[in-house]
């Protein structure tokens, strides 16, 4: 684990690092955690299928049918009610085209 990797991971995770101090701190703690989990490499897992769901269930799919949940007909209004910025029924984001 080095600072270059930490900067790359922070970029993938869309987390702005505050500066050199945070980069150093994150590098140190990530090294610690990754070396802690490294011990899994000693387990022989040849031929073992990965387990993603403890009950082995295949996740159900619902019918492909629109519903308003319990938000009623005013669903879109209420969904927008938590938006930091909205306009005419749309979410507003900073300009993405120059």
């Amino acid at each position: 684990m080095d600072s270059k990797t930490v900067i790359k991971v922070a970029n993938l995770a869309r987390l702005r690092l505050s500066g050199e101090d945070e980069i150093a701190q994150r590098t140190k703690e990530m090294s610690g955690i990754i070396s802690f989990v490294e011990q899994l490499q000693e387990v022989d897992t040849t031929g073992i299928a990965p387990l993603a769901n403890p009950n082995d269930d295949v996740q159900r799919l619902r019918d492909d049918k629109a519903d308003n949940g319990d938000t009623g007909n005013s669903g879109s209004v209420r969904v927008l009610s938590n938006a930091p910025e909205s306009n005419s029924g749309y979410f507003v984001v900073p300009k993405i085209i120059e």
Binding site: T5, M30, S81, N82
Partner: protein, 488 residues
């Protein structure tokens, strides 16, 4: 009669016999919440809503339409979305979030007639074991050491607010969630009962997601029977949760008949960890003796991959968290920092909104899922996860339940174990395997340590066999005669 001295079951009986009203009960608990506000157990109190619901409950009782929890005041962990009531996940990034919908579990409790007192504090996004990562301040345990030090202790985490609220009698029961031990560890630290049911027993719908294949809702109450009553009301199939199980919900309280004669209790040898405090060892042996005297048979079992459970968890949980928390982008809800460019807005909003532990886990999760590391870490961890689950399947061929300590120590002081993340993670050494295997586990208060602080025993069951947990839990509760209380 002091209303706060009554258990949930006793309160319920008195309500239905009209000896007391829900308004009286609710007022008593709201008053206690005010008196003990210094514990910081609640992030949001909802007194007006509670009084409205109490009034309705009294009407329902008068009209003979009482539900199973009619008029019972409960607390809801602030990870469960509650319609029109602020839900923060103890994160600044959701500091002003007002859900337009109700989580299935809280809806079920309300449908049964419960009164909601408020939303309890927790570690941010349920990531922590001491309730010190909350964006809204630590929770202080109502317990103190008996040495007169008056030092503030942690209630445990992540469901620290719920556990403290139940222990201080600031509610009659509370919901929690448990991803690696977040119900069982705080229950143990606070001298109350906590159950994490089988994965899929309680719906995850409307619960702010941390690690979806591990997250499970559950219950805190001051005794085993009250826990059984609340779990039954919270459980059941929900088409809105794709991993909810479509199987019947038993009458959990009815399973508590005290008869464990001939039952086989497995003792996993790998849980005798290095440097285990003598008190924990002694308590465990005490538990074994109690069950033996009640007629159970003790069987030694082995869970050989136990030592790999924590490292497995600290790959899978951060991986799922990094994916789940990608949704907090400052667009649809939550905190936004104003920026001219979209990417800057994402990055600065997330940097400002998430706390340190959450960032740490997002970073680790992003790393183990990133190109070149996915197979070595994430897939490897999922393979070991299968081996861990297989250990339990093999052990349960020889026994009906397992008995272990719930935690490696009693509650520690706020601020302890904060210097190294791994130190904090080790709190979950006895609890985390169950989440990986999807199994139910219950923590039952069983004794006090030399400082007068509670210690819990953990009962681990087969998938869908919570009934046996309640049965054994009831026997331990009775044998332990745990009557120490944190509240006055």
């Amino acid at each position: 009669m002091n209303i706060a001295d009554l258990t949930l079951e006793e309160t319920s009986t008195k309500l239905k016999n009209k000896e007391i009203s829900s308004i009286e009960v609710t007022e008593e608990y709201l008053g206690r919440m005010e008196t003990y506000r210094g514990l910081n157990a609640y992030i949001t109190e909802t007194p007006e809503l509670a009084m409205e619901q109490a009034k309705k409950a009294d009407t329902n009782i008068a009209n003979g339409k009482a539900g199973k929890l009619e008029g019972i005041p409960l607390a809801i962990k602030d990870l469960f979305c509650t319609k029109n009531v602020k839900t923060t996940a103890a994160s600044k990034i959701l500091g002003n979030f007002i859900p337009p919908y109700e989580s299935t579990v809280s809806q079920k409790l309300l449908d049964a007639g419960a009164v909601m007192l408020g939303k309890t504090n927790l570690d941010e996004f349920a990531m922590g074991s001491a309730n010190t990562t909350s964006g809204f301040g630590n929770v202080i345990s109502p317990w103190k050491k008996n040495d007169g030090s008056n030092q503030d202790l942690t209630p445990g985490g992540s469901s620290g607010g719920s556990a403290a609220a139940v222990a201080a009698k600031l509610c009659l029961g509370a919901t929690g969630t448990d991803t690696g031990g977040s119900i069982r560890q705080p229950a143990s630290f606070c001298g109350i009962v906590g159950i994490k049911p089988t994965y899929g027993r309680c719906s995850r719908w409307g619960v702010v997601a941390f690690a979806s294949s591990l997250d499970q809702a559950g219950i805190f109450a001051e005794n085993v029977k009250d826990t059984a009553i609340l779990l039954e009301a919270s459980s059941g199939f929900d088409p809105k949760d794709s991993t909810s199980a479509d199987i019947p919900v038993p009458d959990f309280a009815a399973a508590m008949n005290g008869d464990i004669r001939g039952m086989k209790i497995g003792i996993p040898k790998e849980y005798r960890v290095d440097n285990m405090p003598e008190e924990i060892e002694k308590l465990w042996q005490q538990g074994i003796d109690w069950l033996k005297s009640a007629g159970a048979e003790i069987v030694d079992v082995s869970l050989p991959h136990t030592k790999y459970a924590l490292p497995t968890y600290y790959i899978i949980a951060p991986a799922e968290a990094s994916s789940n928390l990608a949704r907090y982008d400052g667009v649809r809800y939550g905190l936004r920092t104003e920026q001219d460019a979209l990417l800057d807005m994402y990055e600065t909003s997330r940097a400002a909104g998430f706390g340190d532990e959450v960032k740490r886990r997002i970073m680790v999760g992003t790393y183990v899922l990133s190109a070149g590391y996915y197979d070595a870490y994430y897939i490897k961890a999922q393979q070991v996860r299968r081996l861990i689950r297989q250990d339990f399947i093999d052990a349960f061929k020889k026994c009906d339940v397992l008995l272990t300590p719930a935690t490696p120590s009693a509650a520690f002081a706020i601020g302890e174990n904060e210097d190294d993340p791994i130190k904090m993670y080790l709190n979950d050494v006895f609890t985390v395997s169950l989440n990986l295997a999807g199994l139910p586990g219950m923590s039952v208060p069983a004794g006090l340590d030399a400082n007068g602080l509670p210690l819990g025993l953990q009962i681990i069951g087969k998938a869908w066999d919570e009934e046996t947990l309640f049965k054994v839990g009831g026997v331990i509760e009775q044998a332990a005669g745990f009557t120490s209380k944190a509240y006055k």
